[in-house]
């Protein structure tokens, strides 16, 4: 077991990769509760894959990762949620575009809960009947999104941004995708992605480090998952151009909803991916956070019924800069304001320093919560394949000129705009 310390954050992580390839991260902090999270490095944006040595790629319907997440709680002769509840623990799971996580938080019977978590992710039980039953439940989950103005524009923008990458599908899939999923799809997917070597176990809170690691090793000494096979994800070329630059959707609605994706080819100026992401996020914060001029504009202009939400995600070789806003009347003005603001390459050093300070504060706050610590570790493993233990000083030492140099040449000419307009007359 190796000890890694996050500098300046009073946070020590004990880590070990087990013989079967499972990566384990343990963190003790002064709390009564313990949060444990088992993460499969597989999410909603992977739909064609195979294990090394297999002939062809398996193609599965969109929504498979999320469907699998639901079904992992179903067992032949016991109910994992009942065990958690009996121990007074809360448990849940979630699926993103990139990962699927199963987790619990509790204060008592930790080892029984942990054993339950490990069984939950390693004992699939899919039947025709229980798969069909789940379709009704997941369809209702999807229907809520179909009524959400945010998801309507968000989901359409994904489809209009990506031509080939499976990221264009929503994590839940469409109602048709959900209806088409079979138990064979689920077993195929499970057998590919749920080997311990493709998983990460993170635990934080009131734990005995040695005792917990011993328990985990004992569990896996009793369960042989076979040799890990390399997973191959089908590579798909993605054009730089978006699929459709503008689309208007009509719906019975009172307001207008806008979603914009800028598809920005990575400039590869930096080898340090952590720093690259920080720069991109600072770029958005400089222009769109509460510290920007824009916060006063959107507060005072009666056309804006919400602030402009900006976020960044890395997808393949692209940064996707996404913007969402609700307006009363003038969509053109809002789209132009976002575009002009983003393309304005003048930056204020004082604001840069303030954002740095705010980021340092967020960093400290993120180490206060047992769940957030686990999230941080999983994200760093997914993005950087290692922990960024010096992230405090990376942030502290951010340099304004280096930031400007990184940002200055990015190409902001590929974007798609989706607008939801109130239905009127015959549209």
């Amino acid at each position: 077991m190796k000890k890694l310390s996050y500098e300046k954050l009073d946070l020590d992580i004990y880590t070990e990769t087990l013989k079967n390839g499972l990566r384990v991260f343990l963190c003790k902090i002064p709390r009564n509760e313990i949060h444990a999270r088992m993460t499969a490095m597989f999410g909603g944006s992977t739909l064609e894959f195979k294990l090394k040595g297999e002939k062809g790629f398996t193609k599965v319907p969109a929504g498979i990762a999320h469907f699998l997440e639901h079904k992992m709680f179903e067992k032949e002769d016991y109910d994992p949620l009942q065990i958690y509840e009996r121990n007074g623990a809360s448990a849940n799971a979630f699926t993103s575009e990139f990962i699927t996580s199963y987790h619990f938080t509790g204060v008592n019977n930790f080892f029984e809960n942990l054993n339950n978590l490990l069984r939950c992710v390693h004992e699939p039980y899919f039947t025709y009947e229980n798969v069909e039953k789940e379709k009704g439940i997941i369809a209702q989950e999807k229907k809520e999104d179909l009524d959400s103005v945010y998801y309507i524009v968000h989901d359409k923008a994904l489809m209009n941004t990506f031509k080939n990458l499976d990221y264009k599908n929503t994590v839940l899939g469409s109602l048709e995708d959900i209806a088409s999923i079979t138990k064979e799809d689920l077993y195929n997917t499970y057998n590919t992605f749920y080997h311990p070597s493709n998983m990460i176990l993170t635990i934080s809170g009131n734990i005995d480090i040695d005792g917990t690691m011993k328990f985990i090793k004992d569990y896996y000494s009793r369960h042989d998952f076979g040799k890990a096979k390399e997973i191959e994800i089908k590579e798909k070329d993605e054009p730089t151009k978006v699929v459709k630059e503008k689309e208007i959707i009509y719906k019975e609605n009172q307001t207008k909803e806008i979603y914009i994706n800028y598809k920005v080819k990575k400039n590869n100026k930096l080898d340090d991916r952590y720093l690259s992401r920080i720069y991109m996020n600072i770029y958005l914060a400089m222009k769109f956070s509460g510290l920007s001029e824009l916060s006063d504009i959107t507060t005072k202009d009666k056309n804006f019924l919400s602030g402009i939400n900006a976020r960044m995600e890395e997808v393949g070789n692209f940064y996707i800069l996404s913007f969402n806003v609700t307006v009363k009347d003038d969509t053109d003005m809002a789209v132009k304001l976002i575009d002009d603001t983003l393309k304005d390459m003048n930056f204020d050093e004082h604001r840069f320093d303030l954002i740095k300070k705010a980021n340092l504060n967020s960093l400290i706050l993120s180490t206060e919560n047992v769940g957030e610590i686990c999230s941080m570790i999983v994200n760093q493993m997914r993005l950087y394949n290692g922990l960024v233990t010096n992230m405090y000083f990376k942030l502290f030492n951010l340099d304004f000129d280096a930031f400007k140099n990184f940002i200055k040449d990015i190409d902001l000419n590929n974007r798609c705009v989706v607008i939801l307009e109130p239905k009127k007359g015959d549209n």
Partner: protein, 420 residues
């Protein structure tokens, strides 16, 4: 954890010392008695308080000032709590041990100014910002229909009577907001200050005496000391034949809300039995409603109960297909009857008790829970944590069955989706 109460004359300051966190939590609460017309002022008041300042000219400047003192997280809201409306500022900031000496005081002053030192011009709130906020608030009300769950809740509140009076409808609220002036809003603010009961809570790795001095230096509260406003509202009647309202919409999903009233609830039931009732019926995934409506019949993704023990109100929420309404309603009714008959397992009862015990232990892990738990003791007469544990252990199945008989479906609202 140690707590101390300081009597500051016209308000009380409570310090809760714990060394488990890198942060300090602050809560400033001013409680007033709930009245029907408060709805006219409340949504505008917190919006004005949180976005204007007597010291800074714009929101950007406020935000810059916040980051300059290491970016406290803060929010201001009015919270309906039984018969009280609570103007509440809650904030978390990093302890000065991790930032710079003097930051605790700077944060407390910065945050307290939102409540005690608002931007007032000519005996009214800043006119320009007031008019902007007012128009945006009206637009927000008008767009409620775009958000099905929110709209269903708002319509449900129009149909069900919670207090001695009928709450304003959305249309009435819009008209009241339109007619509101910045001077009237300022008069309401003065009423909150003059007639409200102020309490300040601070938790974290703090020196209570130092915090007391900081508050005395930086908080000027001009109101008087008041006794606690009434808190619990006892429901006196219910619709013997439940009112069922179905409204059509162009949504895909239908949003169902079932409102129940509790008559003659005892203090013991309000504090303990009602919680177990709510969790067994519609708390976790193994609750009766989840097992029956979701797992056995695949009729929904979400179904859960919501308990307001100060008002004696239970609500059941579900997202369903409109065509399944009758079936879902029958199943829910059946499970409500099962609660009366005691048709739930001892294991389930033990599970929800264990969840409760764990939640008590977890209080110490979250500063907002530490403050909330303490507030519930002061405001609603909740027992201390150890007593809570003992009392909950004594609740029997028979207590829950007896309590279940006091619960009656009063109002049902379905926002029916018909878009395929």
């Amino acid at each position: 954890m140690k707590y101390k109460k300081f009597d500051e004359g016209n308000y009380n300051l409570y310090t809760l010392v714990t060394d488990r966190f890198k942060t300090i939590d602050l809560r400033i609460n001013i409680r007033i008695q709930n009245e029907r017309d408060n709805d006219k002022y409340i949504p505008m008041l917190w919006r004005m308080l949180v976005s204007t300042s007597s010291k800074y000219d714009s929101l950007k400047e406020i935000n810059e000032a916040a980051v300059d003192i290491y970016d406290p997280y803060y929010g201001i809201r009015f919270i309906g709590s039984g018969k009280q409306d609570v103007l509440s500022l809650s904030a978390t900031f990093v302890s000065e041990k991790y930032t710079e000496k003097g930051m605790n005081e700077k944060n407390i002053k910065f945050l307290a100014d939102f409540i005690f030192n608002p931007k007032i011009i000519n005996d009214g709130f800043d006119e320009e910002m007031f008019e902007i906020k007012k128009e945006k608030l009206i637009d927000y009300y008008l767009s409620t229909k775009d958000y099905p769950r929110e709209y269903a809740e708002s319509r449900f509140r129009e149909e069900m009577t919670f207090f001695d009076y009928k709450e304003h409808s959305l249309d009435e609220i819009i008209e009241l907001t339109r007619s509101l002036t910045s001077k009237e809003l300022y008069d309401f603010y003065k009423k909150v200050i003059n007639e409200g009961k102020l309490d300040i809570f601070i938790s974290g790795n703090i020196d209570p005496l130092e915090i007391k001095k900081i508050c005395e230096r930086n908080i000027t509260f001009l109101g008087n000391y008041h006794e606690d406003p009434e808190h619990v509202f006892n429901q006196k009647s219910y619709n013997k034949k439940p009112i069922i309202v179905i409204e059509n919409s162009s949504n895909v999903q239908s949003n169902l809300i079932i409102g129940c009233k509790t008559i003659n609830m005892t203090d013991y039931e309000r504090k303990y039995v009602s919680l177990l009732y709510s969790w067994i019926l519609g708390g976790g995934m193994n609750s009766l409603l989840n097992q029956t409506v979701r797992e056995k019949n695949s009729l929904c993704y979400y179904i859960y109960t919501n308990r307001n023990n100060l008002l004696g109100i239970f609500k059941i929420y579900a997202g369903i297909d409109g065509k399944d309404f009758d079936k879902v309603y029958d199943l829910i009714e059946e499970e409500i009857n099962n609660m009366k008959k005691g048709n739930f397992s001892d294991d389930l009862l033990e599970s929800v008790k264990n969840t409760y015990y764990n939640s008590l232990i977890s209080i110490e892990d979250h500063q907002d829970d530490i403050i909330n738990s303490f507030i519930s003791e002061i405001y609603t007469g909740a027992d201390d944590v150890e007593t809570r544990r003992k009392m909950m252990g004594k609740v029997t199945k028979e207590d829950i069955m007896e309590f279940a008989k006091k619960i009656h479906i009063d109002t049902v609202f379905l926002l029916k989706g018909d878009r395929s």
